[in-house]
């Protein structure tokens, strides 16, 4: 028997089953989540805007539809959060910035429309690194979001609010955006499951951009099953976004429960396992061994060109944001946080040839991955090489006592799928001795999110890392 005070602990899958059977009302569930937000938000600061009234109104409408016999599917009546760079009609959308502090869109993003049409209840807009240009969610305008596992630590970013909100049970699922790792990084350090879909799989229409050629929207949830449910709703072509692909969207749930038998796992020891905190390496290697016990096989590979990825990532992710921000950087430069402002200034000074060569490098790396996918079905590696760092840290020690720049260090593994456009999911796979979550990244073929969900679900069927609850 579930009590009202425990409703916020439900996964999307669990809650939707109860709602479909009319054993749980969307109003009850939404009230429980809003109560949870009110109880922990002063510690976590996952939200920029909480939509108490709007959520209650939507939940009532969702309940009335069910009572009238109209059940819309697995997201009907489910409280969901949106990163605050996703347009919401009539609700301010700040992108974590002072510049857009008063911006109230007159239209929804396509992904927001699709969630609402599926019956989801939007409970709030989550905190983020300013304009998504950074990986800490230490936001100078709306405060730092804190990691629910240790409030003195960061939630990573840029979708740090979404990751923390899911981990803290302040929503049942959330949308984030990912350019260089901004869904997968906070998924890993907050102990949740999040996917960056293939570039072009999900519409970016009415989402404040960071770098157009790498931006994606994706779900962050507690389980791979919940990720599949959310991705099913938001994926697919959008005539309003010419970047979306006209590729059919499969039934993602049909990939679940199929185990990992026969899956060929690619491992790249001389890059992805070369420079890690020991706890991260141990956890990810143990996870791969678990999958081997399920019948997967491991194939070691070397990727000749992978080492250029950080430079290419920094180049592309410097130049494109600076183009988007060109006007504001000249007219309102004082309204940016110091860290984002200097990144935007840097991006103005790259050479055009460096940017184009970085884009050509992406083709080189993508071709190398596509060739490797003749031999393997997925790649597995750590999502990032370290666990959550203290809030405010600009450097990180991975090994050997050497301090490294946070931005370069944090996206050295997530940047690979970002550059190649490949889908990748982060799955909880353990904890450090300080009880800080560790994530593994599974990278797949283009548009093969289904296999990523299959492997993630197989792993979660035999492990409990994703069921652990932060000590709030």
């Amino acid at each position: 028997m579930i009590t009202v005070t425990e409703l916020h602990e439900l996964t999307i899958s669990e809650a939707s089953s109860l709602i479909e059977r009319r054993e749980l009302s969307p109003v009850e569930l939404t009230e429980a989540v809003l109560h949870r937000i009110d109880a922990v938000e002063d510690k976590v600061n996952a939200y920029i805007t909480v939509l108490h009234d709007e959520a209650r109104h939507a939940a009532k409408a969702a309940e009335q539809m069910i009572a009238a016999g109209y059940y819309l599917g697995a997201l009907h009546g489910i409280p969901i959060a949106l990163k605050d760079n996703i347009y919401t009609r009539g609700v301010r959308t700040t992108a974590g910035s002072k510049i857009l502090a008063d911006f109230i869109p007159t239209e929804d993003a396509t992904v927001a429309i699709r969630l609402k049409q599926a019956g989801a209840i939007i409970v709030g807009k989550t905190n983020m690194h300013e304009f998504a240009w950074g990986g800490t969610t230490d936001n100078p305008h709306y405060g730092a979001t804190r990691n629910p596992w240790d409030l003195s630590r960061f939630p990573a970013g840029s979708s740090g609010g979404s990751g923390a909100a899911v981990a803290a049970r302040e929503c049942l699922g959330a949308l984030g955006t990912d350019t260089g790792g901004s869904i997968r990084l906070p998924s890993a350090v907050n102990g949740v499951t999040g996917i960056r879909p293939t570039i072009g799989r999900v519409s970016n229409y009415n989402v404040v951009p960071l770098a157009w050629s790498m931006d994606t929207v994706g779900p962050m949830c507690r389980t791979a099953r919940d990720v599949a449910i959310m991705l099913q709703v938001i994926a697919g072509p959008d005539p309003l976004d010419p970047g979306t692909a006209s590729v059919p969207v499969p039934d993602y749930l049909s990939y679940l429960g199929r185990g990992a038998e026969g899956i060929r796992i690619g491992v790249v020891p001389d890059y992805f396992f070369d420079h890690l905190q020991p706890a991260v390496e141990a956890a990810v290697r143990a996870a791969i061994e678990e999958l081997e016990r399920l019948g997967a096989t491991v194939i070691e590979l070397s990727l000749e060109h992978i080492h250029g990825n950080i430079s290419a990532q920094l180049t592309v992710e410097s130049c494109e944001p600076s183009a988007y921000h060109q006007k504001w950087l000249r007219e309102r430069s004082q309204d940016y946080g110091d860290d984002v402002r200097i990144l935007l200034e840097r991006g103005e000074l790259y050479l055009a040839t460096q940017y184009i060569q970085a884009q050509r490098y992406r083709t080189l790396l993508r071709n190398e991955f596509m060739e490797a996918f003749r031999r393997v079905d997925v790649f597995i590696c750590p999502t990032l090489p370290f666990v959550a760092t203290p809030v405010g840290a600009m450097t990180v020690v991975i090994e050997g006592g050497r301090e490294e720049d946070m931005l370069s260090a944090i996206m050295q593994f997530t940047g690979v799928p970002s550059l190649t456009g490949l889908p990748a999911i982060s799955v909880p796979c353990g904890f450090s001795k300080e009880r800080l979550p560790i994530g593994m990244q599974i990278i797949g073929r283009p548009f093969d999110e289904g296999t990523l969900l299959r492997v993630a679900d197989a792993y979660q069927a035999i492990t409990t890392w994703h069921e652990e609850t932060p000590p709030l």
Binding site: A245, Q357, A358, L364, M370, G421
Partner: protein, 73 residues
């Protein structure tokens, strides 16, 4: 191997900021130059490698899951 001279100087940063009509306090020009010098070392090395591959075109989107290579029209 890195050049013994910095690839980006404070004066160069000031010049290009002016060329881009971007106001940046002069106190930050040196910091930008230092950061860009490190970034450009890597970017230039990557550029040299890519320049040896004339067949590469900048294209990153997939539209055919079977091949993964074909681009949208």
């Amino acid at each position: 191997m890195k050049d013994s001279q910095p690839t980006v100087t404070e004066a160069a940063v000031g010049y290009f900021l002016r060329a881009a009509s971007l106001q940046v306090p002069e106190g930050r020009h040196a910091l930008l130059a230092e950061q860009l010098a490190a970034l450009f070392d890597d970017a230039n090395e990557l550029s040299r490698k890519v320049a040896e591959r004339p067949e590469l075109v900048p294209a990153v989107r997939f539209h055919h899951p079977e091949t993964g290579f074909e681009e949208r029209e």
